[in-house]
C-alpha cells in the first residue's frame, strides 16, 4: 500500500505528535515540513480540511490531523507544524502539533494494532512500533484522505 514490499528494512518514518500520540508518517511520502503559514479557509469543505495554503506557488490543501483523529480542536495560538505529503500527484499538508526525528525502524518490530483501538483510528493506521517506551502509530496516507461525509451544504 504505502510501501512497496521490495523496500529494504528498516523503514523510515517522520515522527509527529498529534495530541499525546506519536504518529509515524512514511518518509518516502513526505516532501517537506513547514512552519505555520497563512491558511485560507475553504467554505463547505469537509470538517477535517483546515483550508488551502500557498507553498511556493503551489496550492496545498491542509488537513488538520487533530480533527481527522477526532480530537478536540487545537487551542487558538497553539503552535503547529505542517508535514507536506504527496498523494496522487497532489500535495497535502498534514497539520500536526510537533514534528520530531526521522526514525528508522526495523520492519520486523512492527506490531499489529490492538483490537481495542477505536475504529476511526484503526482505519487510519497500518500498524504500530514501540519506540522509546512509546507507541508509534503508522499512518496510512491513503486512508487519511478518505474524509468524513461532506460538510452540510448551506
Amino acid at each position: 500500500m504505502t510501501f512497496p514490499s521490495t523496500e529494504p528494512s528498516p523503514d523510515g518514518f517522520v515522527s509527529v505528535r498529534v495530541g499525546d500520540q506519536m504518529i509515524g508518517i512514511p518518509l518516502l511520502r513526505v516532501q517537506d515540513v513547514i512552519a505555520p503559514v497563512r491558511i485560507d479557509r475553504v467554505p463547505l469543505a469537509p470538517f477535517e480540511v483546515a483550508g488551502s495554503l500557498n507553498l511556493r506557488g503551489r496550492i496545498i490543501t491542509a488537513v488538520d490531523m487533530r480533527r481527522r483523529l477526532g480530537l478536540a480542536p487545537r487551542a487558538v495560538g497553539q503552535p503547529h507544524m505542517s508535514v507536506i505529503v504527496e498523494r496522487g500527484g497532489e500535495l497535502y499538508a498534514l497539520q500536526v502539533e510537533d514534528v520530531g526525528d526521522v526514525l528508522w525502524l526495523d520492519r520486523a518490530a512492527r506490531e499489529p494494532l490492538p483490537v481495542t483501538l477505536a475504529p476511526e483510528w484503526r482505519e487510519l493506521c497500518d500498524g504500530l512500533y514501540r519506540h522509546d517506551d512509546a507507541s508509534l502509530l503508522i499512518l496510512n496516507i491513503e486512508q487519511t484522505f478518505t474524509l468524513s461525509a461532506p460538510a452540510v451544504a448551506a
Partner: protein, 943 residues
C-alpha cells in the same frame, strides 16, 4: 528505435488528418497541382517511412495508393469520385494501421488484398490503355517502382550506412534529410533520363569528397539492396546505379519542390506536449510570483527594485503570452476530418451537402481543441443525418437540392465562438415532445406545458435522439447530451435556435484557454472568491438608489432590474458563511448568465478583475460543485474560484438550465418608449402580450389547485384566494389538462391570475400600440416576429375579476347573467357613439383614466345592455346627430327605464358646417323630456 516509431506515428497521424481534407478538396478542384503535390508527398513519405521501419502492410497499401496518385499527377487518370473513394479507403486502412501501431507497437493484422486489388485495377486499367506511351516515356522510373521507392531506398540505405561502423563517421555533421533528397533526386534524374547515369556517385563524391573513396561501393550496394528489397526490377536497378562513364553531375532539375522541402524542415520542431505543459505550469507560477512582487511594489513605490521589477513584470507577461502561443493551434486541427466526414455522409445518405467552413485560422488552446473535436464531429454528423433533407424533400420544400452546413469560428471577448448551422428541416418541436414522452423523459403534463423552444432543448437530455429511425450514421441515442456535457465541462456553453423548415443553428462558446482566465475577485463575509469574468454580464449595486433594492418574494430574493425580475442567490447562504460582526458593506450584485439562466449573486464587496491562474481543486474537495478551481492572489493568499453553473444549480435553477425559455429579442435598443412585453399564447391560440412591468410573477398553475366558488375559478395563492381568468376574461370552466403558466398581476394586496397556454417570449417593443376597443380586454395590437399580437389591457381583467359575479354582458350584449351583487371599485361608463373612431379613441382613453368602459355602437346596442341588466354611473352619448338618429337615441333612452337615474353626458362634434349644437341638444332634450328622462348634462366635449 522506439523514439523513431513514435516520431513516425506522430508524423503519420498529422499527415493523415491533413490528407483527408485535401483529397476531398482535390476531388472538387482536380487541377490544383499544389494540392496534389501535397497529397502525393504525404502518402509518399508515409511509404518511405514504413519501408524504413519495416512496416510491410503499411508500405504495400501506401505504395498502391501512391501509384494511383501518380497517375493523377501525370494527368493520365481523370480525378473522379470512384477513384478518390478508393484512395480514401486506403487512407482509412493506413489510419487503422497507424493507430494499431501506436497501441501495440506492431502493425495490426489485416488483409488488404481487396483494397490493393482495387487500387491496382485503377492503376492498371489506366496503364493498360496507355501502356505504350507511358512505357516509352518513363522506362526506368516505372520499373524501379517510382520515385517513392527510390526515396525509401535512399532512406533505408542511409540508415544502414549511418549505423555501420565503417561508413558511420562519414555522416558526422551531415544533414541526412538533405543527403537523402540529393540521392533521390540523382536517382530520379537517371531514371527519368534527365541526368546521366552515375548521378548518384557524382552526388556522393560531392558530399563526401575524398573520404568516400574507400566506401563508394558500400554506398551503392546499400542503395541497390534496398531497392531490391522494395521489389524494384533487378535489371532496372543495375541500369540506375551503373557507374558513370564520366563524372557529370549536371542535368538535375534545378528547382524541384522536393528539393526545397528539406531546408524548410528545421523551421518547426516537434515538442512533447508534456514539455509544454510543464513550461506552462512554470510560467503560471512565475506569474504568481510576479503578482506578489508587484503587490510589494505598490506598497513601497520607492524601492530600488522598482526598475527591475517593472522589467520583470513585462518580461513575464511576454513570456506568458509566448508560452500560450505555443499551445495555440488553429481550430482547423479539429476540423480537418470534417470535409471527409461530410463527403462520406453525403454519399451514404444519398444527400448533397456543402460544408462551408470559415475562420479556420482561429487559434485556441490545444487542450480545448482536443475537447471540442468530438462534440463538433457529432454535431456535424447530426446535421447531415437529421438536419438536412434528401434532395427530393428539399426540392419539394422549394430549397436548393444541395444542403448546406456552415461552420464558423471567431474570437469574441476572450472566448471562441463556434457556430454550426444547417439549412435543413429544423427541429420539429412536436416530434421532439412526442419522442420525449415516448421514452419517458417527460410527463404528459410537462409536455403540454412546454413551449416549442423548451421542447427543443430536450435534445440535450441524456438518451434522446430525434431520428425516427436509427441509421448507421446517428440516432443511437448517445448524442447531444454528451456534446453539451463535454462543452460545459470546459466552461463552455452551447445554445440552440431552430426554425422549423429553415434550419438549426448551434452556437458554442468556449474559453480560449483553461489555464489563465480573467476573474473578478469578490468578498463575502470577509472571505474572498474569484468569479470567472466570462459569465458575468454586469455588476449592480442594490443600495436602494435608482429604485434598485433587493425584494423578498416568499423568502426568495429578487431584484427588479430594468423591468425584469432577477432571481438572486446569496453567496453567504450558498456557502454557509458566518456574517461578520458590525455593519456590512452595501450589497453588490454580480449578474451572471449560465446558459439561458440569468441570475444575480449577492456579495459584500467587489474588488478588481485579475488574470488568475486556474489550479484544479484538490481531489478531496472535488465534490464541491460550487468551485471550479482555486487560485493564488497577488498577496499570496489562496482563494477558491466559484463556478456559476454550480451556483445556479445549487440555487435551484437546474431545471431552468435545461430549459432556456428566455430568448430575449433585442429590438435595436435605445428607444426610450419601448418597453418589455411578455408574449404568451392564449388558450384559443392567439398571441397576446402583457407589459412585463405589470406582471408581478409568473407561476405554474397546477390543474389540481384550481377551485371554483360561485362560478369563479380560484386558487389559493399566498394565503389568499386569487381569481384565475382565461385570456378572454372569463372564468375557467374546467381545469386545464396540464400545468399552465399563470401570469400573476398585483394591485395592492390583491392578486389576479391570468392563465396562458404558454409563455412565448419577452420582447422589447414600442408600447405605442394601435388603439382598439377596450371592452375586449385588448388595448391594441403589435407585431411580434411577423405575427399580430394583441396587447392585453390589464385593467380589463381587474374589472372582470371585480365584477365577475355581477351580470356582465359581453360587448354585443347577447347574453345576460343572472345575479347582481355589484361590488364596484371604479365608476362605470357607457359610451354610445356610431362613429368607430370616437369609440376606439374614447374607450381606451377613459379606461386609462381609471374608468370601466362599455361601448355601444348605436342606441339599440345600448338598449340591449340595459335589458341585460347592466348599470352605469354615467352614460356618454353622441348627441351631434340631428333628426332620426337623435330621435332613435331619445327613444332608446326613454325605454331604458333602469337608467333614468343615470347622468347622461351629451357628446357633440364641433363642425363648421353642421347645424347649431343647441338645436340638436334641444332636440334630444325635447324627446327625453317627453319620455321623462331625469337628467341631461349640457356639457359638451369635443371628441
Amino acid at each position: 528505435m522506439d523514439d523513431v516509431i513514435n516520431e513516425f506515428i506522430a508524423e503519420a497521424r498529422e499527415g493523415i488528418e491533413a490528407v483527408d481534407a485535401k483529397l476531398v478538396r482535390f476531388e472538387q478542384t482536380p487541377d490544383d497541382p499544389d494540392l496534389l503535390g501535397d497529397i502525393f508527398r504525404l502518402i509518399h513519405s508515409l511509404k518511405g517511412g514504413s519501408g524504413f521501419l519495416g512496416l510491410m502492410r503499411l508500405q504495400t497499401v501506401t505504395h498502391a495508393a501512391e501509384n494511383v496518385l501518380g497517375l493523377y499527377r501525370d494527368g493520365t487518370l481523370a480525378v473522379d469520385a470512384a477513384s478518390v473513394t478508393v484512395i480514401l479507403d486506403a487512407v482509412d486502412v493506413v489510419r487503422n494501421i497507424i493507430e494499431g501501431l501506436a497501441d501495440t507497437g506492431a502493425e495490426p493484422e489485416g488483409d488488404d488484398r481487396a483494397l490493393i486489388a482495387r487500387l491496382d485495377r485503377i492503376h492498371a486499367g489506366e496503364a493498360a490503355v496507355q501502356t505504350e506511351p507511358v512505357a516509352a516515356r518513363r522506362p526506368l522510373l516505372e520499373r524501379v517502382g517510382g520515385e517513392a521507392t527510390l526515396d525509401a531506398a535512399c532512406e533505408g540505405a542511409l540508415a544502414l550506412l549511418v549505423a555501420s561502423p565503417d561508413t558511420g563517421p562519414l555522416f558526422a555533421g551531415v544533414d541526412l534529410d538533405r543527403v537523402q533528397a540529393e540521392w533521390r533526386e540523382a536517382l530520379c534524374g537517371v531514371a527519368r533520363a534527365t541526368a546521366a547515369p552515375g548521378a548518384l556517385q557524382g552526388v556522393l563524391l560531392e558530399t563526401f569528397g575524398e573520404a568516400l573513396a574507400a566506401h563508394d561501393a558500400a554506398f551503392v550496394q546499400a542503395v541497390r539492396q534496398n531497392l531490391l528489397d522494395l521489389e524494384a526490377e533487378a535489371e532496372a536497378v543495375e541500369t540506375l546505379l551503373a557507374a558513370a562513364p564520366s563524372e557529370t553531375v549536371e542535368g538535375l532539375e534545378p528547382s524541384r519542390v522536393d528539393r526545397v522541402e528539406p531546408a524548410k524542415g528545421p523551421q518547426t520542431i516537434r515538442v512533447g506536449v508534456d514539455t509544454l505543459e510543464g513550461l506552462m505550469t512554470m510560467v503560471s507560477e512565475l506569474v504568481l510570483i510576479r503578482n506578489q512582487l508587484i503587490q510589494t511594489l505598490r506598497d513601497q513605490p520607492e524601492t530600488p527594485f522598482a526598475g527591475p521589477l517593472h522589467r520583470l513584470n513585462q518580461v513575464t507577461s511576454e513570456l506568458q503570452e509566448g508560452v500560450m502561443t505555443t499551445r495555440m493551434q488553429p481550430i482547423s486541427g479539429a476540423w480537418a476530418k470534417l470535409p471527409r466526414l461530410v463527403r462520406d455522409l453525403a454519399s451514404d445518405l444519398g444527400k448533397r451537402i456543402d460544408l462551408i467552413m470559415t475562420g479556420e485560422d482561429t487559434e485556441l488552446d490545444r487542450q480545448v481543441m482536443e475537447l471540442i473535436r468530438d462534440p463538433l464531429t457529432h454535431m456535424i454528423r447530426n446535421a447531415a443525418d437529421h438536419g438536412l433533407e434528401t434532395p427530393d424533400q428539399r426540392r419539394a420544400a422549394g430549397k436548393p437540392e444541395t444542403g448546406r452546413i456552415t461552420l464558423s469560428a471567431r474570437h469574441e471577448g476572450g472566448a471562441i465562438l463556434i457556430e454550426m448551422a444547417d439549412d435543413g428541416r429544423g427541429l420539429p418541436a412536436a416530434r421532439i415532445r412526442a419522442k420525449a414522452l415516448d421514452v419517458g423523459l417527460i410527463t404528459p403534463a410537462q409536455a403540454a406545458a412546454m413551449s416549442d423552444a423548451e421542447a427543443r432543448q430536450l435534445i440535450f437530455l441524456p438518451g434522446f435522439s430525434t431520428a425516427a429511425s436509427v441509421t448507421a450514421v446517428s440516432g443511437r441515442g448517445v448524442g447531444m447530451d454528451v456534446v453539451r456535457t463535454n462543452i460545459e465541462a470546459i466552461g463552455g456553453a452551447v445554445e440552440l435556435t431552430s426554425v422549423e423548415g429553415q434550419g438549426t443553428r448551434f452556437t458554442i462558446r468556449i474559453p480560449l484557454t483553461l489555464s489563465i482566465i480573467a476573474g473578478l475577485v469578490v468578498e463575502c463575509c470577509g472571505e474572498r472568491f474569484a468569479m470567472p469574468q466570462a459569465s458575468i454580464i454586469e455588476l449592480v449595486s442594490a443600495n436602494g438608489t435608482a429604485g434598485r433594492r433587493i425584494e423578498q418574494i416568499n423568502g426568495a430574493e429578487v431584484l427588479r432590474l430594468r423591468d425584469r425580475l432577477l432571481p438572486l442567490v446569496s453567496l453567504q447562504a450558498l456557502l454557509g458563511l458566518e456574517p461578520p460582526e458590525g455593519p456590512r458593506g452595501e450589497a453588490c450584485i454580480v449578474v451572471a448568465r449560465v446558459g439561458a439562466f440569468t441570475f444575480g449573486v449577492i456579495v459584500d464587496r467587489v474588488f478588481d478583475t485579475e488574470e488568475i491562474v486556474v489550479k484544479p481543486t484538490a481531489s478531496i474537495l472535488r465534490h464541491l460543485k460550487l468551485y471550479s478551481g482555486a487560485t493564488i492572489l497577488g498577496d499570496g493568499s489562496v482563494i477558491m474560484i466559484l463556478d456559476f453553473k454550480g451556483m445556479a444549480v445549487e440555487a435551484g435553477a437546474g431545471a431552468l438550465l435545461n430549459g432556456g425559455e428566455e430568448a430575449t429579442v433585442d429590438a435595436g435598443g435605445g428607444d426610450d418608449r419601448s418597453e418589455a412585453l411578455l408574449v404568451f399564447r392564449a388558450a384559443d391560440g392567439a398571441l397576446k402580450a402583457a407589459p412585463l412591468a405589470g406582471v408581478a410573477r409568473i407561476e405554474e398553475l397546477e390543474p389540481s389547485a384550481l377551485e371554483w366558488a360561485d362560478g369563479r375559478s380560484l386558487i389559493q395563492y399566498r394565503g389568499q384566494l386569487m381569481p384565475v381568468l382565461c385570456a378572454d376574461g372569463s372564468s375557467l370552466t374546467e381545469a386545464p389538462q396540464a400545468k399552465r403558466p399563470l401570469l400573476v398581476f398585483s394591485r395592492g394586496a390583491r392578486s389576479l391570475g391570468l392563465m396562458a397556454e404558454e409563455i412565448v417570449d419577452i420582447i422589447e417593443a414600442a408600447a405605442t400600440a394601435e388603439l382598439a376597443g377596450s371592452s375586449t380586454g385588448v388595448t391594441g395590437s403589435i407585431v411580434v416576429a411577423g405575427r399580430a399580437t394583441e396587447l392585453i389591457d390589464v385593467d380589463f381583467y381587474w374589472r372582470r375579476c371585480d365584477g365577475l359575479a355581477e351580470p356582465r354582458p359581453a360587448t354585443q350584449g347577447a347574453e345576460a347573467s343572472s345575479v347582481a351583487a355589484p361590488v364596484r371599485a371604479t365608476k362605470r361608463l357607457l359610451v354610445v357613439d356610431e362613429s368607430p373612431f370616437v369609440r376606439m379613441l374614447l374607450g381606451p382613453l377613459l379606461a386609462q383614466a381609471g374608468y370601466e368602459v362599455e361601448v355601444a355602437s348605436d342606441p339599440e346596442a345600448a338598449l340591449v345592455l340595459h335589458d341585460a341588466g347592466a348599470a352605469f354611473d354615467l352614460i356618454l352619448a353622441d348627441t351631434s346627430h340631428a333628426g332620426p338618429t337623435a330621435r332613435r337615441m331619445a327613444v332608446a333612452f326613454g325605454r331604458a327605464s333602469a337608467w333614468h337615474a343615470t347622468p347622461l353626458l351629451g357628446l357633440g362634434v364641433q363642425s363648421l358646417s353642421g347645424p347649431p349644437q343647441e338645436a340638436l341638444l334641444s332636440d334630444v332634450a325635447e324627446v327625453l323630456s317627453e319620455t321623462g328622462a331625469a337628467t341631461l348634462a349640457q356639457d359638451q366635449e369635443a371628441a
